[in-house]
């Protein structure tokens, strides 16, 4: 006899269901981060491009890369090798060890087609072999060519860019890092109703040296940090995990210090317990107040992804999907209410997608995507700009690793704050009769054209008649993208704007990860369908 899902879900719920020495050993290793001006990269790159030109390539680049990463996860005071709750941790393996990877990738256009090859053996002989291999791949691909790759022009640069940072995380003693995590879990565990407390931090240092046949020599030294804590509580079989996620940032160790994991521990623990005892939210149309910590993922899924030009023209049809946005929608599609203003920005200090140059050698910039609710711009790179009739790239090419081929990845996509004097969070709450206040990210799913999304969150509070009443659970909402943003009724003022970075975002084949940030102020969205997942 067929089992009934609603009965099952109901039943499942009811059943209740040091040292303080600096890491001196690391300092010299970290200092080995190659510097292009003193290393062989410049001459090796020049030789590689000369070889590619001799082989008949119309374009070539070589990207040397070194990536050092470290992740520490603590569970109930114990350093563990188990994974944390974030998306990616920049590829680091938890446990406090160091991952160090070094290599290069060569990309060429021959016969109008791309070829790419990479290797971890960084020698002049190997570079010659890989240039030949990338060229051979491109030549072989030409048999199935239907059109030539067209690249937007780019100026030549000879520059160095480094993430502004105060303290290199790889020069901070292990004990200091661990202490900040164990103190946080100890504080969470003071709440005896908490089953598990976790704290984590990930660091990454990416060094790149890009040489292109357009004449560029671009060296970049990028620092990343992400961190957070969680508390898990179980009450009568209802298990809930509350997370505190300052997010991820291009920054040094100071990001972890400023995140103050310990300072948020007591609240996180209490909210985990309260959530485990919370009653389900009632289903129906409700007004939602979404905090920036939650909006980051919504912006990511239903604004940032659908405005990637490669998706719009079909490059991702076999995996990440296409987009409901069409090229003809530019300057005609009303994406949302007049309060919706969105821009792309690879220059915002601290944002995860901030770099000096993209992996095509295009300088970072900021440009509008949605103005007063109207779609006005898209994310482009050298390869795709021509599809929308633009003659310059917006600089959105990125490869996750020296091993990977570069392609179009989203920059930071930010929802602009309301004007000074816009409604504050408290004023928004006072203006809601029946609604939910949502914090943090949780369940999220979206169709392949970014039209129908279902989002959860990490913590939810019921709002009745202008007041927050209690915590609720089993919350999801459904968003049809343009309808959802049309119902945007308030955007918080500039002082409430904050950005949230992500240390993972999958796209491409083979799949690569990207690190964008999405900033916003709290937003009030009217009449959103809540609770369909559980009803």
């Amino acid at each position: 006899m067929a089992q009934n899902r609603r009965e099952f879900l109901k039943a499942a719920g009811a059943a209740g269901a040091a040292w303080s020495l600096p890491d001196l050993w690391l300092a010299p290793v970290s200092a080995q981060s190659p510097r292009g001006r003193s290393g062989p990269w410049r001459s090796w790159g020049t030789d590689a491009l000369k070889q590619a030109k001799g082989l008949g390539c119309s374009y070539a680049d070589i990207r040397f890369g070194r990536k050092r990463s470290q992740a520490l996860n603590v569970r109930n005071g114990q350093l563990t090798s188990a994974g944390g709750f974030s998306f990616g941790g920049f590829g680091a393996t938890p446990g406090g060890g160091i991952s160090d990877t070094f290599g290069f990738g060569v990309r060429v256009v021959h016969s109008g087609v791309w070829g790419f090859a990479s290797s971890p053996i960084v020698t002049a002989d190997e570079i010659r072999r890989v240039v030949q291999q990338a060229t051979d791949i491109a030549k072989a691909s030409a048999m199935a060519k239907r059109f030539d790759v067209k690249l937007a022009p780019v100026p030549a640069y000879d520059e160095f860019y480094e993430t502004p940072h105060e303290r290199d995380p790889f020069e901070v003693p292990l004990e200091e890092k661990l202490t900040s995590l164990t103190e946080a879990t100890a504080e969470i565990q003071k709440n005896k109703q908490v089953l598990f407390a976790t704290a984590q931090v990930s660091f990454s240092h990416d060094w790149k040296f890009l040489v292109t046949s357009e004449g560029s020599f671009i060296e970049q030294s990028l620092y990343y940090c992400s961190c957070g804590t969680s508390a898990t509580a179980r009450t009568k079989g209802q298990v809930k995990t509350r997370i505190y996620t300052p997010g991820a940032s291009t920054a040094g160790y100071e990001f972890l210090v400023k995140a103050d994991l310990k300072g948020h521990a007591e609240r996180v623990a209490a909210e985990a317990v309260e959530h485990s005892m919370a009653a389900p939210v009632s289903a129906g149309l409700k007004d939602l107040i979404l905090k920036p910590s939650h909006l980051a993922l919504t912006i990511h899924e239903i604004i940032a992804h659908p405005t990637e030009l490669d998706r719009i023209v079909g490059y991702e049809a076999n995996y990440a999907g296409t987009s409901f946005v069409k090229l003809s929608d530019l300057k005609t599609l009303k994406y949302g209410s007049p309060l919706l203003n969105v821009y792309a920005d690879r220059t915002h200090v601290g944002a995860c997608g901030t770099v000096g140059f993209d992996d095509d050698g295009v300088k970072s910039q900021r440009w509008p995507i949605i103005q007063d609710g109207m779609l006005v711009g898209l994310q482009t790179n050298r390869e795709t700009a021509h599809y929308m009739g633009e003659t310059e790239s917006r600089g959105c090419t990125f490869a996750n690793h020296w091993r990977n081929y570069p392609f179009l990845r989203m920059p930071n996509i930010q929802l602009q704050a309301g004007t000074p004097g816009s409604p504050t969070l408290d004023q928004m709450i006072a203006d809601v009769k029946d609604g939910v206040l949502v914090d943090g990210s949780g369940s999220f799913s979206i169709d392949q054209q970014r039209y129908n999304g279902q989002f959860g969150g990490n913590a939810f509070w019921e709002i009745k008649n202008g007041k927050v009443t209690r915590m609720v659970t089993d919350f999801t909402y459904n968003a049809i993208t343009t309808d959802f943003w049309m119902n945007l009724d308030a955007v918080g003022p500039p002082e409430s704007w904050e950005h949230h970075g992500m240390d993972g975002d999958a796209k491409g084949q083979p799949v690569q990860s990207n690190y964008p940030s999405h900033g916003s102020s709290p937003c009030l969205i009217r009449k959103v369908m809540v609770g369909a997942a559980f009803s």
Binding site: W25, I98, A144, R146, G314, Y319, G321, D447, A506
Partner: protein, 451 residues
């Protein structure tokens, strides 16, 4: 790029000799990942990635630390070993530290490399693309596909004298065809094949193109509970939702669907699924080619996870097994997975369905509620309404909210298993033998006009 047993052993031996610690473990991996990707009926990426790495773990009592390096010259190895040694000494004791696995381990022989798959190159992939695109052009559809090849070696060695080595090669062909007006989309593919000669680009392209053409201009129908016929790809994705709950530790710690009534208890022995649900890990399966090497170098064994709906085993890691007095499982739940099938073809399922949906693909499945394994996801690339035993119309995609706990109780027909990847992407091992299945009362909660 290929790594022989001797080459790998020379590298791991060198590291084991260089490291000074109570115990040392080295995990090696390396090889070639290649792929050809095409879209808009032209190749958009064609690549060969060569990579290699060792993960070096040193132990001092209960202290340990790991470092990873991709450079195998003496200086780089020494730096990595030094870093691991210094880090380990400065770390606190880890009470979950396990002693090294000792030899001998009796690894089941797995025939995992066929030379023509290992040597499958960019020109051969481009020829497949051309063959596929020519068919797309004739059918009037636009092709977007992915042909990955992985030729990879993994090895584990430790200072107890253990050395395990496994090399495999596999290839896949995955294709989405869309109509030029964007109103129809269809998917077809073969994944994780040991023998590249089994890839049939013609058949895959014809199936994907046919689906794209037949799915044009879908109409919206009401959400609700439907009989669904899942082809092997969505069936594999749906089944994968269960795998994360098969971990004994999370069950005994009271934080998973498999948790028992009291802390420390599990649902092993309980009948939770339909009689027709039997799921095993089968080493050296004639079609699959996954590793016979388990956690820390333990020899993986056949495991029956669910038999006729009854939970028979959960996964016990080495540490959790020791703590609870059980034997370690060695074989992780997603490894060489085989679900028993039936004899009903998809065509026969359609013929015997009064009203239902034929599903080609599930997309973007994400957890909604962990304790009930409630997930949400979308249909994609071909959804068809079945009425009175026939496909009568393409319909707009649905968002669903469902749990495999319910779905695997409601299977009313099973087809013959076929190899299909269980993961969202196709880049890691994860191909399983999965039957197409018909599930009653599958909950569709909203419609999407996305094509």
């Amino acid at each position: 790029m290929s790594y022989s047993r001797e080459e790998v052993k020379a590298i791991t031996d060198k590291i084991l000799n260089m490291a000074k610690a109570d115990a040392v473990e080295v995990d090696f991996q390396g090889g070639e990942r290649s792929a050809t990707r095409y879209a808009n009926s032209s190749i958009t990426a064609n690549l060969i990635e060569h990579d290699q790495q060792v993960n070096i773990t040193v132990y001092y009592g209960q202290k340990s630390a790991s470092t990873v390096t991709h450079q195998f010259d003496d200086a780089s190895l020494k730096t990595a070993i030094d870093e691991a040694q210094i880090l380990a000494k400065r770390k606190p004791d880890n009470p979950e530290t396990m002693p090294l696995v000792k030899p001998p381990q009796n690894y089941l022989p797995v025939d995992a490399v066929i030379d023509r798959t290992a040597n499958f190159g960019p020109a051969e992939r481009a020829a497949m693309v051309k063959k596929s695109l020519d068919i797309c052009e004739k059918k009037g559809v636009v092709g977007a596909g992915y042909i990955p090849k992985l030729h990879w070696t993994t090895a584990t060695a430790n200072s107890e004298g253990l050395f395990s080595y496994f090399r495999y090669a596999e290839a896949s062909f995955i294709l989405t065809c869309r109509t030029p007006d964007g109103t129809g989309s269809g998917w077809a593919g073969q994944t994780g094949l040991k023998d590249v000669n089994l890839i049939d680009p013609t058949s895959i392209t014809e199936r994907a193109a046919e689906k794209a053409l037949k799915s044009q201009k879908p109409r919206a129908i009401e959400p609700g509970d439907y009989t669904v016929i899942l082809e092997s790809r969505p069936a594999a994705r749906f089944l994968s939702l269960l795998l994360g709950s098969m971990d004994a530790r999370s069950a005994e710690e009271g934080r998973s669907f498999m948790s028992g009534a009291e802390r420390g208890q599990t649902k092993i022995g309980q009948k939770l699924f339909g009689d027709n649900v039997t799921i095993k890990s089968v080493m050296n399966h004639p079609t699959l080619r996954q590793t016979p090497i388990g956690e820390d170098g333990l020899a993986a064994q056949d495991v029956t996870w669910i038999e006729k709906g009854v939970v028979k085993n959960l996964y016990y890691s080495r540490y959790w097994a020791q703590k609870t007095g059980k034997a370690p499982t060695a074989t992780q739940p997603g490894l060489s997975l085989v679900m028993d099938g039936g004899t009903t073809s998809v065509e026969e399922m359609i013929k015997t369905t009064k009203r239902g949906l034929l599903v080609s693909f599930f997309w973007y499945m994400r957890p909604v509620e962990a304790m009930s394994i409630l997930y949400t996801g979308m249909t994609r690339d071909g959804l068809f309404l079945i009425e009175n035993g026939e496909i009568t119309a393409p319909v707009q995609n649905f968002r669903w909210n469902e749990t495999p706990v319910v779905g695997l109780n409601n299977i009313s027909a099973l087809g013959p298993p076929e190899p299909m990847h269980t993961g969202e992407a196709y880049d890691q091992p994860g191909t399983a033998m999965i039957p197409p299945m018909r599930i009653e009362d599958f909950t569709m909660t909203s419609v999407s006009p996305a094509v």
